[in-house]
């Protein structure tokens, strides 16, 4: 069985391997062991703490094959995108320039460095091994985290967001970076993504413009990729969009990848999730009538999620005995489900 569960210290080696595989696509999953260790430790502390207001917590999940203990993917949530420091993005503002005599109101687009999203909760560090890309498990990582956030509302803000990777080629050349960021930094995209994952964000305020950047003056190759998602993240993007996330007017500052945002209450998952009791499937249930459910198991502050086949009747979710065994339920567990 494959489950989504909080990362543990014993996952470090596996995470290191995944971080290496994932490369620069996942800037919030650093390759450096010490940084990974920090991230896992911070996650453990975050889960342990009782929280009644989103703060510096960051929750890291891993996708584990429970028979072999293999780690096959990751996904994290930051309680606040900008916890100890601002979370920067470019906001695509429209400025109207008016001339009375010429009777013109031109609409001029300009990118403004801002940190409007600092108070949003942030989904990040999504990665799954390529072999599972076509399965339901990307869905597990993404919706599993949303389910976690739904069940523990006090730990998160009301507004959520996810930064998706923008366009970059295999050599790590990102057109938006080449025509924008490079002018200010003079370094490669990979390099700045590494700084971004390992340094605090002060360097952004030091190096990036506080003047709005007029979009019309940005090279067309870079304009063309603004708000476009990297093909590797297309699935992520559609999963989140289906839930109600929308690409607003923010883009990522280095590669101009889309930033999706949503109000918690507007998400379909939040509206449809229900608490259930698990029961064993009775004989007379037809296997064909079984449906796929995402279930989340909360016990105290801990949480895990997995996908199961079952049948829902009222607040009873019927699963196979085998599945129920695997879940290792205790009487303390609260179980939540949502039909996929």
């Amino acid at each position: 069985m494959i489950i989504l569960r909080p990362a543990a210290l014993s996952d470090i080696s596996n995470l290191e391997r995944l971080a290496h595989e994932s490369g620069p696509m996942v800037s919030t999953l650093p390759e450096k062991r010490s940084h990974l260790l920090n991230k896992v430790e911070q996650s453990i502390v975050s889960f342990e703490q009782d929280v009644d207001c989103a703060g510096e917590e960051s929750y890291l999940f891993v996708l584990e094959e429970t028979l072999t203990g293999q780690v096959l993917g990751t996904g994290a949530v930051n309680a606040l995108a900008g916890n100890r420091e601002p979370f920067y993005s470019f906001r695509n503002d429209i400025k109207v320039h008016s001339s009375r005599q010429l009777n013109v109101h031109s609409r001029i687009h300009a990118l403004t460095l801002n940190h409007d999203l600092s108070d949003h909760s942030q989904l990040c560090s999504f990665y799954i091994v390529p072999a599972l890309a076509e399965t339901d498990y990307p869905t597990l990582i993404t919706l599993g985290r949303l389910l976690f956030m739904t069940i523990f509302p006090l730990r998160f803000a009301n507004e959520w967001m996810a930064v998706l990777p923008g366009i970059a080629d295999e050599s790590g050349r990102a057109p938006f970076w080449e025509h924008v960021g490079r002018k200010f930094f003079g370094i490669d995209y990979n390099q700045v993504e590494y700084y971004n994952s390992t340094r605090n964000s002060t360097f952004i305020s030091e190096m990036m413009p506080y003047h709005p950047l007029y979009v019309a003056l940005i090279d067309e190759e870079a304009q063309a990729v603004m708000g476009l998602v990297h093909q590797n993240a297309a699935l992520q993007c559609s999963l989140l969009s289906d839930q109600g996330f929308e690409a607003d007017k923010h883009v990522e500052i280095f590669d101009a990848g889309p930033i999706l945002t949503a109000q918690r209450n507007a998400l379909s998952l939040c509206q449809k999730v229900q608490q259930v009791k698990l029961t064993t499937i009775t004989d007379h249930v037809n296997a064909n009538s079984l449906q796929t459910f995402l279930i989340g198991l909360a016990e105290g502050n801990s949480f895990k999620a997995c996908l199961v086949q079952g049948g829902l009747q009222g607040n009873q979710l019927q699963l196979s005995e085998y599945n129920i065994d695997q879940l290792n339920l205790s009487s303390e567990h609260r179980v939540f489900c949502i039909k996929l």
Partner: protein, 344 residues
């Protein structure tokens, strides 16, 4: 003989004819009768003392005394930007540096500015192509500084001159193509014409209000910032030799440089001296060409000639004195025409 005098109401037809000979990039003498007539009226009102500061301006006519024809004009606006705002781009430096990353970047940026509000402006210099010889260009340009030296109290303490920027043979400005075009759907020619008839501020309203980085312009646009059109190079050299300098401001359309100076720093203001007129039968040639002007506000005159001059007198022929509208015993303001010449 060529001499300078104030523009007159009767000059309208000649001025209109002259305006026809200008081309793209010469914004301040549009071929537009109503506009030119209004301009002449405003200049005359200034000389007659009837204008508020915002409307004061002077226009000088270069006249060929043989034919009594107007062959060139040059002007001074006394205080710009007091009716419509006066815009240019300030070329500033911005440093982005991060000690931790070990990165230091120095970037040029352009910001819309009204910093020259209230300054005087040297403007509208145009000389009939047939007369582009014999120091006529020098006279037309420098007579303004001589006038300024004579009537300094009528001017603010700083003076500027906008130099025409680079454009190609089709009138395309690389700077406009890279910047203005994105904010405005006009061609450079049209924008240029609107500017000439005083609509510059309308256009400026549509231009980028926030500072932007030079690095985001095309290379050809970057190259022409603060550069003048090849045809304007002589005019630039004249003003620079007189003490005007590019100080980091450029035109918002073509990025031509704004030259500027404190009037007190102008060579002609510092070095011009008063000499008494002595009329001689046959004037001897002195050692250097001199710029000579009278001190009559409403009947200002200026000429260039190689007169003999000593510590107190200047020796003129009757024709020269006539051109200058002076008689023996009157005072004239005299300065070597060129910077390199020795002082008086």
């Amino acid at each position: 003989m060529m001499f300078i005098r104030p523009i007159q109401k009767e000059d309208l037809a000649a001025l209109l004819q002259l305006a026809q000979k200008t081309g793209t990039g010469f914004t301040s003498l549009p071929h537009n009768e109503a506009h030119l007539e209004q301009r002449i009226d405003r200049m005359i009102a200034t000389w007659e003392g009837g204008n508020t500061l915002a409307d004061q301006g002077y226009l000088f006519a270069l006249v060929d005394s043989e034919t009594n024809t107007l062959v060139g004009v040059s002007g001074i606006e006394v205080a710009i930007g007091l009716n419509d705002p006066w815009y240019d781009f300030h070329v500033g430096t911005q440093v982005h540096a991060s000690k931790e990353l070990g990165i230091y970047r120095q970037m040029k940026k352009l910001s819309l500015s009204n910093d020259h509000t209230g300054n005087s402006e040297l403007c509208t210099l145009f000389l009939d192509p047939d007369y582009r010889k014999d120091k006529n260009g020098q006279l037309l340009s420098k007579c303004r500084l001589l006038f300024l030296a004579a009537f300094k109290d009528k001017f603010p303490k700083r003076i500027i001159a906008e130099m025409r920027g680079v454009s190609d043979e089709n009138g395309r400005s690389p700077f406009w193509e890279s910047l203005g075009r994105h904010f405005f759907t006009l061609d450079f020619d049209q924008a240029d014409y609107l500017t000439g008839i005083g609509s510059k501020s309308f256009i400026a309203e549509l231009m980028p209000k926030h500072a932007f980085y030079v690095d985001f312009l095309t290379p050809s646009a970057q190259q022409v910032i603060a550069e003048v059109h090849p045809n304007t190079l002589p005019a630039r050299r004249i003003l620079e030799s007189e003490g005007m300098r590019y100080e980091g401001y450029v035109d918002i359309f073509d990025a031509g440089p704004t030259l500027e100076a404190y009037t007190d720093d102008l060579r002609i203001v510092k070095k011009s001296r008063m000499r008494q007129v002595t009329i001689v039968e046959s004037a001897l040639l002195g050692e250097q060409p001199l710029l000579i002007g009278n001190e009559k506000y409403q009947d200002f005159r200026a000429i260039i000639c190689n007169s003999q001059v000593d510590a107190a007198h200047i020796y003129l022929s009757q024709a020269e004195a006539d051109a200058l509208a002076v008689v023996s015993g009157e005072q004239l303001r005299v300065v070597p025409l060129f910077e390199k010449e020795s002082t008086l």
